[in-house]
């Protein structure tokens, strides 16, 4: 795992994580503090990136917004991965009725457009991070199930799985110690997609006012509110957009790199 971070994408991701999680420990301006007199103020010593329409510190808001985007998307992806991969592996390994049942349920979830499903859940259970994480997770569970299931199907027929069976290994051991490591590659790729997609979906929901609740900062909400003043204050729109783009690109690059590292054929393995 150490090796994964000793690479350009790893270092970039560490930099972003440090920015989002360590910087708020320093005395930054309060991201919620309103200063109406200084609305739309340009960069100054106290406010390095300037102030927004309520005079709140832009840099501080960007950093907090990125942190919540990472926490919410990462959390949602992790939750979806745990649930989805478990269902997928069991379906692929045990087969039979459990396979048919779980895959059909996933098909039903896949029938709903992700944004619609998320909006439905957010309207039913109220907006806010506490609903956002489970909702995003629910949206992305089927993709993990599908990938895990398909990968298990190819790996389970390999002779080394038969060999472990003949050694007298139990089903859980075969699943977790033999099959899981061998399907990690595609799962990491899927994880990278899902983190990125939930970053985008989260900002989309927040843009629509169904995600992070104001006044808490979120990239989507910042883009939404800067839209009105785009002609006069383009910077207020560009800054959160750029933060979003950089976050997505770095996450993508890192997950791609992770897959490379986890393949034993490239170097010494994980």
């Amino acid at each position: 795992m150490k090796k994964a971070f000793k690479s350009p994408p790893g270092i970039l991701l560490l930099a972003i994580l440090a920015l989002a999680f360590i910087l708020p420990l320093f005395p930054l301006p309060d991201p919620l503090a309103i200063d109406v007199d200084a609305r739309y103020a340009g960069p100054s010593a106290a406010h390095l990136l300037g102030q927004d329409e309520y005079g709140r510190d832009l840099m501080s808001r960007l950093i907090h917004a990125m942190r919540s985007a990472i926490v919410i998307s990462g959390g949602a992806a992790l939750l979806a991965a745990i649930i989805g991969v478990t269902i997928g592996i069991v379906a692929g390994y045990v087969r039979g009725i459990s396979e048919a049942l779980s895959l059909r349920v996933m098909d039903v979830i896949l029938c709903f457009p992700p944004l619609l499903l998320a909006m439905l859940a957010a309207t039913l259970y109220g907006a806010g991070p506490k609903t956002l994480v489970p909702v995003l997770a629910l949206v992305f569970v089927p993709s993990f199930t599908r990938v895990a299931h398909a990968s298990v199907m190819t790996v389970r027929g390999q002779e080394y799985v038969d060999a472990v069976k003949l050694m007298g290994a139990s089903a859980p051991r075969i699943i977790f110690r033999t099959i899981l490591p061998n399907i990690a590659g595609p799962l990491f790729v899927q994880f990278s997609f899902v983190v990125v997609m939930s970053v985008v979906l989260e900002s989309g929901l927040s843009y629509l006012g169904l995600g992070v609740l104001p006044p808490e900062p979120s990239l989507g909400m910042m883009i939404g509110s800067a839209r009105a003043t785009f002609a006069d204050q383009p910077w207020l729109l560009f800054a959160p957009c750029m933060a979003l783009v950089v976050l997505v690109l770095v996450l993508n690059a890192f997950c791609d790199h992770l897959r490379h590292v986890f393949d034993p054929r490239n170097g010494s393995g994980a």
Binding site: Q158, E159, Y160, D162, A163, V164, K165, L166, M167, G168, A169, S170, R173, T178, P181, N182, P264, R265, S268, G269
Partner: protein, 607 residues
Amino acid sequence: MTKARTPLLQVSNLTVGFQTGPGYRDVVRDVSFSVAGGETLAIVGESGSGKSVTSMALMQLLPRATSRITGRVEFQGTDLLTLDERRMERIRGDRISMIFQEPMTSLNPVMTIGAQIAESILMHRRIGRAQARAEALAMMDRVRIPSAAGRFDDYPHQFSGGMRQRVMIAAALACQPDLLIADEPTTALDVTIQAQVLDLIKELQAESGMGVIFITHDMGVVAEVADRTLVMYHGDVIEAGTTTQIFDAPSQTYTRALLSAVPRPGSMAGIDAPTPYPVFDIAEGRMSPPAERPDTLQADQPPLLEVKDLSKRFAIQSKLLKRVTARVHAVEGVNLTLRRGETLSIVGESGCGKSTTGKLITGLHPRDEGEVVIAGRKLDRVSAAERAHDIQMIFQDPYASLNPRLRVGEAITEPLRIHGTVPRAQEREIAAQLLDRVGLKAEMADRFPHEFSGGQRQRICVARALVMKPKVIVADEAVSALDVTMKTQVVNLMMDLQAEMGLGFLFISHDMAVVERISHRIAVMYLGQIVEIGPRAEIFGNPRHPYTRRLLSAVPVPDPARRNQRGAVPVTELKSPIRPPDYRRPAQHYTQVSPDHFILETGAESL
């Protein structure tokens, strides 16, 4: 069409290098040979010997950016190496054609076979579609595809392996090339099908007078087809001459090593016990005969393995209602016993049920009927964990049977970790000992499987099978994927281990050469049943069942002088054991021919 005996292809000082880092590494060095019209040249060697690279270089199929080819390849007066890609395209498939090893992957699955044969005609000739179709049909007749007109619009998956190879040959010969390069064309085929394909290539050659370059690792096939032979080793031609010369008086130790791995009928006659292969020292050029050894069979001990009336059927269900429409009778009433120190081989062609039998005996597949008793205990009475102490398996594909994510040391000791019987600290020591025992180095334990060659991996699999100290090892085509020299080494290793530990081997194979070396007894399987079972000498010397005879007669004879003595093998497809759902197997009656030698009484239906 037959041309005078001037060389069709003259290769001089061909050297091929691949780019590695800043420089080039030569994988074929200074190869020269010639092929005349109507002549067959065999290039023999193992993987990595450069035999396939040589043929790819002739055809200019190697990536031009990363390979360097020097020398001259003169084909009908032009040097192919000086031609650019466009002029080469006109020669490929038209004047020179190629057939590949794998009939399952070298045909395009989404094109009908007729279209694939017509494709090369359309590419090289200015003729219409209808005419191309007619020519393709004529070609399908020439390669003796039964009812060609009716199968023109079929897709490759509707053909068996042997028929697909015929389609490949038809496509390759569609433009009536002057030179055919056949790269291991029969390696993936069953032995009776191989005999048919070899016959076919010879007949077509006699008809058209084309030159053939036959690339193979199998000296038996060489003896069948080749006029002259080139032996390659690590990129060099080490021996060249007429096939008779090479077989009668091989000058190189390596050639002799290759030759010793093919069965000469009668070479084992008069020897009762299985005998290891002679050991070769390529570097020193010495060949030492196998050490004298007592027979490993301990006939007085109770049997290790008893199999009674073993049966397995796979249901074929209709798509919609999942009703059983037919059943594959994969294994039908198989009875076997295996004693301590004995090797019982199960031979047969693909689909005969031999691998399924192995999986039923190890418990990997649940069986439908019958009983398996290992070391006095019934298979179902023993938990999977305990069974591991009794029976282990070595698989066919050394690339698929090792977990790519485990270091080989961990892979070998994985059974110990599953059972938790040995403290972690000792694991390394045990792995080191076993690696040493199978002829690898103890410090290799920290490497991953992909860093090893096929033969080394198979040794690792042997070590892993041994760690539980089992009594029976099922070896399912364990050496089939290995090169000749690796094969002899692994077979010798298995025989040494048998002598040392009194193992019983159930050796499942289609390779009659290896089977003749290693077996005490042989069971011949056909359509899921054992049709003949008996001591090795009896099966090879006195085969009684018609299928056994057909199987043995299809094995290439490694003696160029006796080339045309084998009768033509009839064009047959392997029958499939698919039966209607209400099929009842007729009672099996075995006739005893001599002590221990039984044959199945069969009706006309089964052959």
